[in-house]
């Protein structure tokens, strides 16, 4: 099921809420979390029975491994081996089912192995695998939340209850398919709080607000930009001549489509979780208002940034720095080892995380080089002296101007159907095909883009708008950019409800189309 599906919004969600709060009232925390777990599996089954079996298998394996590493003594060598075997399971299933490694390596000769992997990529596998892997790492490093969450396991019944709690945490449907990738340290304290399980009208009001805003962003804005995007990127793929103006409109339209698609999803995820009294970590915080690529990654898909930094970039950077310092390497090779290589690998993985395509490879390379370069520039004496002298407003404006074009081009590459198609689009954007045949009527897309980019740059984001109700767990501390006059606060009331109704009605008008969220493909 997808969040914008009326069946989900008007049938599944009310039933799940009713079951959750009724069971919570009569049977308590464990039973309520079991309801969430069952509801989440029911939510997932329409994605395919095989995918659902794979999800449950991942839950069982990770749960058993987590129990072992939690209750085995530090001195036992088997503890580390079991932990590594658990993580190997996660990595291998991800590579096998997402990247079709068997068919890549062996081709059709791998027979049944290829057939099994040949099914559609299981929905959400990249997200729940990362969440499960992070949980295992927490269990291995003896994060106190893990032992507390698993509880005392004296009987089979208590093990079953712990499994349901674990299942609810990893497969919680608001975050199962597209994240945010949540840490147990964020989920566990909430489920132990006295507020949890209590039906609070504010939670419902805040939740519905987020759902309405998110749905409007996705169904009305992002999906209405999609046809323009498809035309231009399709034309670029076949090497057609494109009028520069239309090439730019296509690239900008994708930038806005991806933004509103993912932002809309993220809002809906926060809202859905909030209706069950739970807060998710924030995943999206006005990324296009960033002043550079470093700032951007603290605002775009923040929970992926932090999980990859934790498990990949930091260990690589620590190993490189240790090697460089112990061997007293000269500054240039030391920097390559401690910054550039770890950064390039980090972004290559972020790129490939979206799928096994060359366009994602090139996107990862572009962002890796850019991030490392920006890090060097910001650390340089020249930049510091400029920053000390320049007016913050002018510097911020210039930084954003420098940031925009590489971002636009890298996202265009990200969307392209092939690397050649991507470079062809670039050539048309900066080309001279002024007599090319017009591919679409420009009036509507230009109007849509004007509205979309005005919202992006001049409106507060939904978390800022709702900050009075602490709608999300802060992943990174980010400054609120934008005009102070626009930083109004939302309160539940009739006027606000009427605004939201307009958003919902507009969304319902378009909802019959039901294109999937872009991030569902990753």
């Amino acid at each position: 099921m997808i969040f914008t599906d009326p069946l989900f919004l008007f049938v599944f969600l009310p039933i799940a809420l009713l079951a959750f709060y009724t069971v919570a009232n009569f049977l308590g925390r464990n039973a309520a979390l079991a309801v969430l777990f069952v509801a989440s599996i029911a939510f997932y089954i329409p994605y395919g029975l095989f995918s659902a079996i794979l999800l449950v298998a991942a839950l069982v394996v990770n749960f058993v491994v987590a129990l072992a590493v939690t209750f085995l003594d530090e001195s036992k060598k088997s503890r580390r081996r079991i932990y590594l075997a658990g993580q190997a399971y996660n990595i291998i299933t991800l590579c096998y089912f997402k990247y079709k490694i068997a068919s890549l390596l062996f081709g059709p000769s791998a027979g049944i192995m290829v057939d099994i992997a040949g099914i559609a990529i299981p929905a959400g596998i990249s997200f729940y695998t990362f969440q499960g892997a992070a949980f295992l790492a927490d269990a291995y490093s003896r994060d106190k939340n893990v032992a507390q969450f698993l509880g005392q396991l004296r009987s089979l019944r208590s093990v079953g209850a712990a499994f349901c709690r674990y299942g609810a945490f990893v497969s919680f449907f608001p975050q199962l398919i597209i994240g945010p990738i949540t840490y147990l340290s964020e989920f566990n304290p909430q489920t132990r709080s006295k507020r949890f399980l209590r039906l609070d009208p504010i939670d419902l009001a805040v939740g519905l607000t987020f759902i309405s805003i998110g749905m409007f962003k996705k169904v009305v804005i992002a999906d209405n930009l999609a046809p323009t995007v498809d035309i231009i990127f399709g034309a670029a793929q076949v090497g057609a001549e494109i009028h520069p103006m239309q090439a730019w409109i296509g690239a900008l339209a994708y930038m806005a489509q991806l933004y509103f698609d993912f932002s809309g999803y993220s809002d809906m995820a926060l809202g859905l979780a909030r209706m069950f009294g739970l807060k998710l970590p924030i995943n999206f915080f006005s990324p296009f208002k960033a002043n550079g690529i470093i700032d951007y990654y603290r605002r775009w898909h923040m929970t992926l940034t932090r999980v990859i930094a934790r498990f990949l970039y930091t260990p690589l950077s620590v190993a490189g720095t240790r090697y460089a310092m112990f061997n007293r390497l000269a500054p240039v090779p030391a920097h390559l080892l401690s910054l550039w290589f770890p950064m390039l690998i980090n972004f290559q993985i972020i790129g490939l995380w979206h799928g096994a395509l060359w366009t994602f490879c090139v996107f990862g390379l572009m962002h890796g080089l850019w991030y490392a370069l920006e890090t060097e520039v910001r650390a340089s004496k020249w930049y510091k002296s400029v920053k000390a002298k320049a007016s913050p407003v002018i510097l911020g404006f210039l930084e954003r101007a420098v940031f925009f074009l590489p971002l636009l081009l890298s996202l265009a590459m990200f969307r392209s159907e092939s690397v050649i198609g991507g470079f062809h689009l670039f050539s048309q954007m900066f080309g001279t095909s002024f007599d090319a045949r017009s591919l679409f009527n420009m009036r509507e897309p230009v109007m849509m883009l004007t509205i979309a980019f005005s919202i992006i740059y001049f409106c507060p984001n939904s978390v800022e708008l709702m900050r009075r109700y602490r709608p999300a767990i802060m992943t990174y501390e980010n400054k609120s950019y934008g005009l102070a006059i626009m930083r109004g606060l939302w309160r539940p009331g009739w006027v606000q409800a009427s605004y939201l109704s307009v958003l919902v009605l507009a969304s319902l008008y378009y909802v019959s189309r039901q294109p999937p969220f872009l991030y569902q493909g990753f």
């Binding site: 790492a137 490093s141 930094a309 934790r310 930091t314 260990p315 950077s317 620590v318 720095t321 240790r322 310092m325 112990f326 401690s338 910054l339 890090t375 650390a379």
Partner: protein, 81 residues
């Protein structure tokens, strides 16, 4: 306590060396937010320098879990004990 002080003094020296623009106090409560130059990159350098100078070893998850210098000093003292 005096163990902690001796370690903190050593750490302070390293901090003054790496973050040469920082002139504020270095205490058990000091955090990365207090020092403008202290970003994720320099954090790794700081940790490795402390490992070298103090003869201790931190895992990467430990390096990321220290909330302030106090946590770091206590973890170092535990290893040296």
């Amino acid at each position: 306590m005096s163990d902690y002080q001796a370690i903190l003094d050593q750490v302070a020296e390293i901090i003054r060396d790496i973050f040469d623009e920082y002139e504020g106090p270095v205490t058990m409560e000091t955090t990365a937010n207090d020092v403008a130059q202290w970003d994720s990159l320099s954090h790794v350098r700081l940790m490795v320098m402390i490992e070298m100078e103090l003869g201790v070893h931190f895992s990467t998850s430990e390096m990321q879990s220290f909330k302030n210098l106090g946590d770091l000093v206590r973890a170092s003292a535990k290893q040296k004990a």
